[in-house]
Symmetry: C2
Subunit: 329 residues, 2 copies
């Protein structure tokens, strides 16, 4: 349960605000990429991402679909983004999923906007400004240019790892006010904005694997475990593999979060900072798990620019035919 | 002692090759930035770095000045670079400092080259191609554009941290073939090249602090300690402060390397990877220490473009009036 940043004396009646139908529909449209559209062809030549996604909501939050949202777009070389609703809002009778889902819905709506100009920080700015739900969320947006440059903007503790030849060559760094209170885009003026985003780029090469996730992944799974899982798929390179990869990472995070004897990155960090990890947090697996894994298909160094951009998106919704529809149930 | 990558059957007589005088002089020119030139004014308007540097060679290597080399330039918004000679070459009767120092000398020579075009990977390419010494080195080059974007190219395990408001918002990731054998630019064909560099950028803001160092810093000092030392200087902002900051970081790394009871990031990583750290490595402090600390003076967000770029370089050579002259003694 991440801690929300609130105005201490806010008088807003949080529990009276609900999304209207039109917003609900927009989110349905955005937050899923069912396997039936797993062979999208992008509109531009150059490098591109092959993407697999997987989401495991916290068991207590399955009904509401969990607090994580994401979107995948084939615009440019490919766009992937995750937002994680700050769970502490539940104590104010606010569904923490609403803000993150609307944020991603809006990001998807503006991804090709001229003002955004294929800049992830501008996309965060526009999406945040358009979000009317009460709540807050951490987010990371990554946009691949067709020349192989991955541009990343991040607010809070969602993260990205780039794995090349069996090692992590790039990591984002989480931002937090203090332990377990991440920077967050918020409905409240006291929250962070696009101006607080850390903006980085990394030049990708052919066969690089990009792993993006909420803190539920990186708090429960060590980088060396991510490397190990990604490396085990080194010789396979098709769309289905990335779904399996995302699933394997999400499952590992989930299993670790349920294992009270596992010394996770989260519990190690807590101890380093002088906190003892509450037993209920370990046992109940409070951390959500969401992960996108992707690989660059074409090498900009090899100038395979004649190939078309391809983005493959797949969400494994388990028994649910459309993962998103259940997330707002 | 990092492990060099060698051609297993190489027949080169390593111990017969020495730098000639002209190269020696070029390196003297480059690898020092004595405090007397601590108020260089750059040639371009926009953001810039204020820089402090400090070097503590390994006690056994003081005579040769250690194996680390660096250069600081006021070109553009400011350029800082570190190279760390791979110490394993000493076993082949090759002074490990020669390659790293010549590499930095050449990088300094080409920093304003048109072909380099203010691109750190191109600078590594040209500097490496011009380096004739036998040996190998890890290196990192960071070039600040006057719009606040810090461009970084890195081969091996030299590193960069960017600290903003008491937290690390950007880290480079080390590259290695296996534990303690980093990627390295080499005189041997089997080594890495500019093509293996990890290339990243990070958008800096006013008051960000950039810490660059060899593995001697990051293997001995935890990120939380770097944050703590940088934060202790938060209210001071002058050129001398950055020298003190670099000195404090280098001293901490040195003291940790001499403290056989200290569980360093290096020994923790070794244990994680299944190695036991040799007692002699702990006791003798094999890791060298070199650090550059710097801060962005102007904010590109606040458009203080009327200010001139300022780069301050200072090397504390201890009792030696010119740190560099002693490094090739």
């Amino acid at each position: 349960m991440a801690i929300p940043v609130l105005r201490p004396l806010s008088t807003i009646a949080y529990n009276t605000i609900r999304l209207n139908d039109s917003v609900h529909k927009a989110k349905k449209l955005v937050c899923c990429a069912p396997s039936s559209i797993s062979n999208l062809v992008g509109s531009e030549a150059g490098v591109c991402l092959s993407v697999g996604t997987h989401l495991i909501p916290h068991p207590d939050k399955v009904e509401k679909g969990g607090e994580d949202a994401f979107f995948v777009s084939s615009h440019g070389g490919g766009v992937i983004a995750v937002a994680d609703g700050v769970s502490g809002w539940a104590e104010k009778d606010v569904n923490p999923a609403l803000f993150s889902c609307e944020l991603m819905a809006n990001a998807s709506r503006f991804v090709e906007d001229e003002e955004v100009n294929y800049d992830p920080r501008s996309l965060i700015r526009k999406a945040h400004a358009a979000t009317t739900s009460i709540g807050s969320a951490t987010t990371v947006v990554a946009m691949l240019e067709t020349n192989g440059i991955l541009k990343i903007a991040s607010v809070g503790d969602c993260g990205v790892r780039v794995i090349r030849k069996g090692q992590i060559i790039f990591s984002t760094s989480p931002q937090e006010h203090y332990f377990d209170c991440p920077y967050q885009l918020s409905s409240e003026a006291i929250g962070q904005t696009f101006l607080d985003a850390t903006v980085t780029t990394v030049e990708l090469m052919e066969e690089d694997t990009v792993v993006m996730g909420s803190d539920g992944l990186f708090d429960n799974v060590f980088d060396r475990e991510i490397i190990s899982i990604v490396s085990s798929c080194d010789n396979v390179s098709n769309a289905a593999m990335f779904v399996l990869l995302a699933k394997a990472l999400a499952n590992l995070a989930y299993n670790h979060s349920k294992d009270s004897s596992f010394e996770s990155p989260y519990s190690q960090e807590a101890r380093t900072q002088g906190f003892d990890v509450p037993w209920w947090k370990k046992i109940m697996g409070m951390k959500l798990t969401f992960v996108i894994s992707s690989e660059v298909l074409d090498s900009f160094l090899q100038k395979k620019a004649e190939r078309r951009a391809v983005v493959v998106g797949a969400m494994d919704g388990g028994d649910e035919p459309n993962g998103c529809s259940s997330r707002f149930g």
